[in-house]
């Protein structure tokens, strides 16, 4: 009985294996397979702010202006040209005619007016986007192909904010159903080079070339986003040829993708994106009130060594609040040196010494003890915290570590309930330091470390109204100096994106803005 049972299992196994492997090699060369690590909730550019959704949407939806891939300057997309009134409050856009949504209906000014109405609608759950449109007073249709935005006050980013308004088709969404749960949130209809085809929940999202697209048609006919949560499995799939594009983790970049065979089949690209991470010192805590103490803390952190050991040197140490490749970044400023001896001196001068001999610095009877709050899922933060704890204890500073799940972590930061915190900022291509550094934002904005500085406030306010780039560069570089002097954060790194792309494709160019699938050519 047992024998026949085993035989049966064996036969079944053979049938399974033989019936399945047969189809494997059927793969259309014009299909691009891209790895995504999590499934986006939906693909509505107004209500979704997930990074994955935005990257998919950038091939489906378009807006009035786009950033050039190389110069990063604004250039027309759905608009042909724009006019700015002399008081810098009115922005008039002239739209391209004969643009069609992928379902065949024409694109007009009504779609923009509708999209703006939705963005401002209090019933629509899009808080992260609403913040940007607070100062946009109205959007008026002048003619079917002319719209005018009115700003509440002059602002140098107004053109970008107006020009990058997410636009959804009015004829699809304006049907009386709740916008937040509209069925087309998961079946987007746009004007872009690709159109949405299907969504296999938990598996793939598929796009095909949009026949009605106004611009040059891309060579890649079909894009399939594959949802693979486990990065190791995704790398296996890539090696097996089931994926063409994947973002790597530093360890995969350094250790697992260097074989000759891999180099022959894949390009490896490293490019920077507007981002930096940091340790923020809550200035409301008496320990961190004195900027000299904050400076000493920075000098106790061996930033380059940590970069080399935790991130395999993949990144650059930064000194200030702008993206390192942004024009505003002040390259004259050097990072504070790693110098524990000098740091100890500074602390001593600031009044911190071990007067009771317990091994911990104290001042007026208060010991130098604090807690670093980290997000528990971040492996980098975890390792960083361990190193800091060790290094600080050598000079008599006791640091404890509090790990919180992300939801709780955000809540703690939002409530300003922390001593020190480590986090990253993802920035936009052209930054405005107002939300992060202006003193008005200490209560309800993103200035949760209580950075308050009169000169900085003045620069931030003036720069918002300054339309001359050169003058703004000067102002922001001064602002960078102030931040460096005050050290509200210990700035850490700008880390690059690490991307592999199959050599099945040609013309794969790394622009300042990153990769652009629409220009890739399939090798014959």
């Amino acid at each position: 009985m047992m024998k026949s049972y085993i035989r049966l299992c064996y036969i079944i196994l053979i049938i399974i294996l033989s019936s399945c492997t047969r189809f494997e090699s059927v793969r259309d060369p014009y299909t691009l397979y891209i790895h995504i690590s999590a499934e986006p909730g939906h693909l509505n550019p107004i209500t979704s702010n997930e990074a994955i959704a935005s990257s998919i949407n950038s091939y489906i939806y378009e807006t009035l202006l786009d950033r050039d891939y190389d110069t990063l300057e604004l250039k027309p997309q759905l608009a042909t040209k724009w006019e700015i009134s002399s008081d810098k409050l009115h922005y008039r856009f002239y739209l391209k005619e004969n643009i069609y949504w992928s379902d065949g209906k024409p694109f007009t000014a009504d779609d923009i007016v509708y999209s703006f109405k939705i963005i401002k609608d209090p019933r629509v759950a899009n808080a992260p986007l609403k913040v940007y449109y607070i100062d946009v007073k109205s959007v008026k249709k002048i003619s079917p192909y002319i719209v005018e935005f009115t700003y509440a006050k002059p602002y140098f980013l107004a053109l970008e904010i107006c020009g990058s308004i997410p636009i959804v088709p009015k004829h699809i969404f304006d049907d009386g159903t709740d916008f937040n749960i509209h069925k087309n949130n998961r079946f987007p209809i746009g004007t872009g080079p690709y159109k949405f085809v299907t969504w296999n929940t938990g598996k793939t999202i598929e796009l095909v070339v949009n026949d009605r697209y106004w611009g040059p048609k891309p060579d890649i006919k079909r894009i399939v986003y594959k949802i693979i949560p486990e990065p190791n499995v995704a790398l296996q799939m890539l090696k097996k040829g089931e994926l063409d594009v994947m973002a790597l983790r530093p360890i995969q970049w350094v250790r697992q993708t260097n074989s000759k065979h891999f180099q022959e089949s894949f390009y490896k690209f490293m490019y920077y994106q507007p981002y930096y991470n940091y340790i923020g010192w809550n200035a409301r805590n008496p320990l961190f009130k004195d900027k000299n103490v904050r400076k000493a803390l920075t000098m106790l952190i061996n930033r380059q060594a940590i970069l080399d050991s935790l991130l395999f040197g993949l990144g650059t140490v930064v000194t200030g609040p702008f993206y390192i490749h942004d024009k505003y970044y002040n390259h004259d400023i050097q990072p504070l040196p790693y110098d524990p001896i000098k740091a100890k001196e500074i602390l001593h001068r600031a009044g911190w010494s071990d007067s009771n001999g317990d091994g911990i610095l104290d001042k007026n009877g208060v010991a130098f003890k604090f807690t670093l709050t980290i997000a528990s899922a971040s492996k980098f933060a975890e390792r960083l915290a361990t190193i800091l704890k060790e290094d600080f204890s050598k000079v008599g500073i006791q640091m404890d570590i509090n790990r919180y799940e992300w939801a709780v972590f955000v809540n703690k930061v939002d409530k300003r309930d922390f001593d020190a915190v480590t986090l990253g900022w993802s920035l936009s291509w052209e930054g405005d330091p107002y939300q992060l550094w202006h003193s008005s934002q200490v209560q309800a904005g993103s200035n949760f470390c209580y950075f308050v500085n009169a000169e900085a406030d003045e620069i931030i306010e003036k720069a918002r109204k300054e339309f001359d780039v050169e003058k703004r560069i000067k102002m922001y570089r001064r602002f960078h100096e102030i931040i460096h002097d005050e050290q509200p954060y210990t700035f850490l790194y700008c880390t690059p994106a690490l991307v592999v792309v199959s050599k099945r494709f040609d013309n794969v160019i790394v622009h300042k803005r990153g990769l652009n699938y629409t220009e890739w050519k399939v090798k014959q």
């Binding site: 189809f23 702010n49 759950a125 937040n180 486990e230 992300w406 939002d414 900022w425 993103s446």
Partner: protein, 340 residues
């Protein structure tokens, strides 16, 4: 006899009535816990793990959005509203994607059920014979080898085994026998019905292996122990004394009686069928109940958390209820009076 039947009816009615307050209690506590836990969906969207979007925190607008989802109301009012809707079988929509909670569960549940039922069947098919064998060969070399192997398997962490299986059996660097995760192939649509079934089975093999290998130890030890209990009973000695063959003694007399605790073990698994393993699901890219529950808890997606909790609370209560009734019917020694 007549009196017994009336008592039985009374007992069942009482048990059903107890289910209602218990259910309310469970869901109420769950709701309280989620609402009182720090963090909410809206402020979470200010960024992803360890990285915030510049300038995305604005209290005023966040408060406005919370109102939209009734999160500004007192917790108890929120619970009452939720309960009222749930009684009408309306579980609401997910915060993440605006889809109906029911359709989320309808997507994930069959996958998880298939995986769990398959693995339970396999665990039972393999562990029970092993357990019986060990009990017959008690304290011999074979018994020791079996327990050693099973405990070794039991102690292997599943994420490690899963990754090894994928690397060596499906990575292509070594062997290329199985797919690298997912539930069906990209060419699924072109297959006929039989091939479709085979395709899904082919995809399920590695996940099922990962889910089962750790389960053998417990069940086979359990079988072994209950078998040994029964074998030492006097009626087994009687059976032997009657001159029955050893096979008959073991399988007709001993094994049947040792089955009772095994069956009750199965009854307690009813709610467990719904739960998925987050590790197995994420490594094999399977969108099942484990990931759904895990992600909804992390993102504070209250409607989904509440739906999953209430469904499993309901099933647990029904499971306990059925088990008790079956006991009462099956085992005449359990006196209903004692429960009054």
């Amino acid at each position: 006899m007549e009196g017994q039947a009336v008592k039985m009816k009374y007992y069942i009615l009482k048990r059903i009535l107890i289910i209602i307050p218990t259910f309310i209690g469970i869901t109420c506590i769950t709701y309280l816990m989620i609402r009182l836990a720090p963090g909410d969906y809206t402020s979470l969207r200010a960024g992803v793990e360890g990285e915030l979007k510049a300038g995305s925190l604005s209290k005023e607008i966040f408060e406005q959005e919370k109102k939209l989802y009734g999160l500004d109301k007192p917790v108890i009012v929120g619970y009452a509203e939720w309960f009222y809707k749930t009684v009408k079988l309306d579980f609401g929509t997910s915060r993440k994607d605006g889809r109906k909670v029911i359709s989320h569960i309808a997507d994930a549940l069959p996958i998880t059920l298939a995986l769990n039922i398959l693995s339970i069947i396999i665990v039972y098919i393999i562990s029970i014979p092993l357990g019986i064998y060990s009990s017959i060969k008690k304290d011999t070399v074979q018994d020791r080898i079996i327990s050693l192997t099973l405990f070794l398997l039991y102690s292997l962490p599943s994420f490690w085994v899963a990754l090894l299986l994928l690397k060596y059996l499906s990575g292509g660097d070594y062997l290329n026998l199985f797919p690298l995760g997912g539930l069906y192939s990209d060419w699924f649509e072109q297959l006929n019905l039989f091939q479709k079934a085979m395709d899904i089975l082919w995809h399920l093999i590695l996940p099922v292996v990962t889910l089962t290998y750790g389960g053998f130890a417990f069940l086979s030890r359990y079988t072994r122990a209950t078998m040994l209990d029964v074998i030492n009973q006097q009626y087994i000695i009687t059976a032997r004394a009657k001159g029955l063959s050893e096979q008959k003694v073991l399988f007709v007399h001993a094994f049947r009686n040792s089955l009772i605790p095994l069956l009750t073990l199965m009854a307690t698994m009813l709610p467990g069928l719904l739960g998925g393993s987050v590790i197995v699901e994420s490594i094999f890219s399977i969108p099942g109940m484990g990931m759904l529950a895990f992600e909804s808890i992390l993102s504070r997606d209250i409607p989904i958390i509440m739906a999953i909790t209430s469904i499993s609370a309901f099933l647990t209560l029904i499971g306990i209820f059925l088990a008790d009734i079956m006991y009462a019917i099956a085992d005449p020694r359990i006196r209903l009076e004692a429960k009054q």
